[in-house]
Symmetry: D3
Subunit: 236 residues, 6 copies
């Protein structure tokens, strides 16, 4: 079996500038190869993700890093520029994300799992869910026109696979190298992980897509689960 | 998104002669349209499914009914001829199903949910799971050669959708009429439902695929869940 | 077995003017027939539920629609007049709902499922849960007197039965026609569904209560689950 | 809310002679008070439940004990006389239990939880479920006539409430004393618990129905969960 | 098996002044006996927990009560002085709790279950989780220095054990008397329970630790579950 | 926190000769270092685990391999010599395992997860659970004396971590090398994996304990879950 994304428009809504690299960039690349339009919406500036030796104007640095990474992927980039640690499904943020959804007009949204380890990721899940619902409600006005129908919604895996039960897996065997290159664009974060004496971010990403692959009979995979709510799951 | 079954070999292993009609015939038809090879393995004779006015030699009658239905579908038919109410994952039954799996060499097996309402369906789930695992173990000998790898395994929906949490949905909007025609081949069972004053089998089937469709944004769907065990889930 | 609501006071707290029709009106009607006092508290004005051809002063239109529907049911109506898409368990809203609970003094509250598809429904779930807890806390002052004990709390089904595991079912076979008539009071919404080319709201409601009925051996049913928390579940 | 059992026929199918006392005797008593017919089917002889000083002919002793206890309850008693530790959903046992179900013709069956701590209890769950399904299948012949429809099925709580998520609670505040008296009929088992230096069986029973009561706002309760499968859940 | 807390620093973050007594004081005492440093952070003033005859300046009274109780335990006490019923994971509250975490530098945080019965407890769960995550993020500044790593996080049992599935149990058989003495310090609350005609708070606490003990083969226990998220679970 | 196994007697009951290496050998080694007595009970001969070039008398070869591996671990070895693919919780097998449990007298049993990917592993789970329950029932006679109390029971992780939700993790950072050496004793199986062109068994084992370590803040870990049933969970 193979999922074909041709004709789709896939929008990943992630909390921080390097989250797509870890959790869904391979699937976005595959969708693009199938002929889909793809985009990444980064909600936070990433300005609090400081390595041991603080970087001045980190937000600007990370803006460049994410632009470079998303360019490698060939996706459109949306930035919401919310503050790190300040994400919440409150009116002002919800409205901004609705506008992004209406600009890109996705058929599929990829969002953080509501059970993720990071409070910002969980808030991003709530925002992505709400925005991709209200995008098609005429009563919620933003600059762009209302969508006719809500996009499908997939929850993404959690970091280190802790506490996430996959519903299905996308084969990304051909895109591991791309994910690695994208991750290397985030120099500020690679330093940070080294400084904290954790396994490197890159190693963690590689291990995760290989374990998900081993669980699903391929060299590398990303895991997802459909949001099983009315109008948010699309048969295939 | 659309799942493409081209190149696949899909084997539905069901307990009784009319179970495929209700739970997976649409998906089999879609797979065939994609170019997949398809087959149905019926485990029981159906000889205890008597309508109010008992039918003589019911097993033979049902053999004809299922042959007619599966012919409409264009699938290969395997019959294990176990007794109704006697299914169990015991060596003699497991061996017979292993041989069926080895003859058809599926890449994907569709099986009843382990939580189904019917004891035979749950036993069929256990048999299908075990047979589609041991089919690739050289130590378990049957007439046909050992498979190189285990097929993927999807659990099918339950009747009336009670107690089944879908992982994903197959769009079968184009195959509802086929399902209806297949079901009509099972004249012995249609009588039975009328006699018992239940909603008719046909109505139940139509309602189920329409509700599953409504839950997944299409006219009609069948629901499944991947068996999330090592070597039984295949990334797509 | 039959649940008897005599002596009860049942309050449904719903997000939008037509939500009770879909998810709990049959159970309210049954409770009333048993001798219970019943009420519906509608949290939002419904002012953003615009059909294709926008209706001027939609909030006022929907106020009339819901009044008519609740009159058919014979229930007391409370309106909180919050904005659509603006529901949240924040102090000002929580306080208003506490006051409603204290005015009606329910023994049982029916609330949206915390896992519902709609952000407003999930917020309504949180508000209903909190308000029906704090209603009996002397420290939380509103105009009406504090209740002696918290009412029981049941979570209602989700639309199209997506993602809701029932704990039990109420037989509403005698009240399907009433639900249909109540729904027809919401003319503004019936238009909306047609315009969006979805299955009609009425058809969806009928299908849902019939499937729930089929799952529970009756002609029509509504599904619920007890809130399994201290002081929120009542033995029967 | 109050569940009314009038018109019902309630059959508890338990593994050992004293299991009903612990898990469902209060609910049976309540059903009887409502006008229901009640019965207990004990599957095993209890011959292996030896206290420290072995009792000769323990099976006969326990036969008397259970007869006395069930007499207090005012229920009909069925005994299957299977060996302790030998319960399994195999044809010979299933057939015997089907016959019991057909003799009593229940509208509701109470069975051990499939996740119970004791292998015999789990086997009893499987037997009760299968027998109360096949009782209405004309193809499965036993001495008594086939039932027209399957009874509803409730899973009972587990001992010490470990690992059981209640779906609902029956108020048994008026029947705690009866449960205590019934338990005292099982003198052979009361000794056994003392000998093993565990908290006494009586204390354990009392504590369990009081905690379940505290969780559900009454003095004492028994907890259950509906078997959420087609034709096994009955709306009320 | 025995868990050894020597070298640990255990911080319980609870909503109200008497919550630790009920849910985790025994485990704190055991950790202290092992050589761990222990602390309790009480988020709310408890000023709305009025008994029938209101107590003037209840917040001050409860401040003394909790100081006395925590003194018996031999723990350090932190008070956040938020209002009862006003807890929320909002920036101002989150920041205050981060500062507490940074002052105590725990290796293990005990927090209310996210599924607790009380809205304040659920908000406390969210606050505890977020604060014990962001405590080690350099970008989130408070007075005290950033922690090098996040502490492990355990969710505590719910009151009356409703709706909580334990992951493991701490043996507190030696500390039941201490819990009772601590609880008796909360005179304002003991009155309140009597007034409401509920089972007394003390009885409830004793019953809960004894049932948890019975479920885990000891005289008394407290139940917990690890937060299964990245960096929040620590192998032992 | 650290779990101390001193005074314990830990018995791992596994299906095949190399299963302990993958799932629990590190924890056994840690227990032994704490002063616990440890043992491994291998249920099957492993005679069907043939590599591409079949090995004559494979059962004898694997007997030597497992003896060598268990010698490295310093554990006592029990062999039940059941046939591969023939495990079932049937009287003859259950009795044999009860006798093993009674000989070793464990305080803790480690068993395969009931949801494991392999039918033999699931049958081993059922056997281990039943045997470690009935070991203390005087009515179930085997050669060795009855145990006074049932041991605690932990379910082990699944291969490749598919479908297993950990309850807690044991830190085995010091025992990875031992696990590797033990695995290398199983030369017949290492060949087999290479032949099937799967990732090597060793690589799979290393990856699994490192990912479990990463999820739990240590270099390497093994994951478990308590069997949450009466008398099978022990507080620590």
């Amino acid at each position: 079996m193979r999922v074909d994304f041709s004709g789709d428009r896939v929008l990943a809504i992630v909390a921080h500038p390097d989250d797509a690299e870890l959790l869904c960039a391979g699937t976005l690349a595959r969708a693009k190869a199938d002929g889909a339009a793809i985009a990444v919406c980064v909600l936070c500036k990433g300005e609090k993700g400081q390595p041991a030796r603080p970087i001045r104007n980190l937000a600007a640095v990370r803006r460049k890093e994410m632009a470079a990474a998303v360019r490698l992927l060939g996706a459109k980039l949306f930035r919401c520029e919310f503050g790190d640690g300040e994400l919440a499904d409150i009116p002002i943020q919800r409205k901004k994300v609705i506008e992004v959804v209406r600009q890109f007009r996705p058929t599929l949204v990829l969002a953080h799992s509501p059970d993720d380890y990071h409070a910002d990721h969980r808030a991003a899940a709530a925002l992505a869910e709400a925005a991709s619902w209200f995008c098609s409600s005429a009563g919620h006005k933003t600059r762009s026109p209302v969508l006719e129908t809500q996009p499908a919604l997939w929850w993404m895996d959690c970091v280190n696979m802790s506490g996430f039960e996959p519903g299905f897996f996308a084969d990304i065997s051909d895109y591991v190298e791309l994910k690695r290159e994208m991750l290397r664009c985030h120099a500020s974060q690679l330093q940070r992980f080294v400084a904290n004496d954790m396994s490197s971010l890159e190693e963690m990403m590689l291990r995760q897509c290989r374990v998900r692959g081993a669980q699903a009979g391929v060299a590398a995979a990303e895991a997802f689960r459909s949001h099983l709510a009315w109008k948010r799951t699309r048969a295939w």
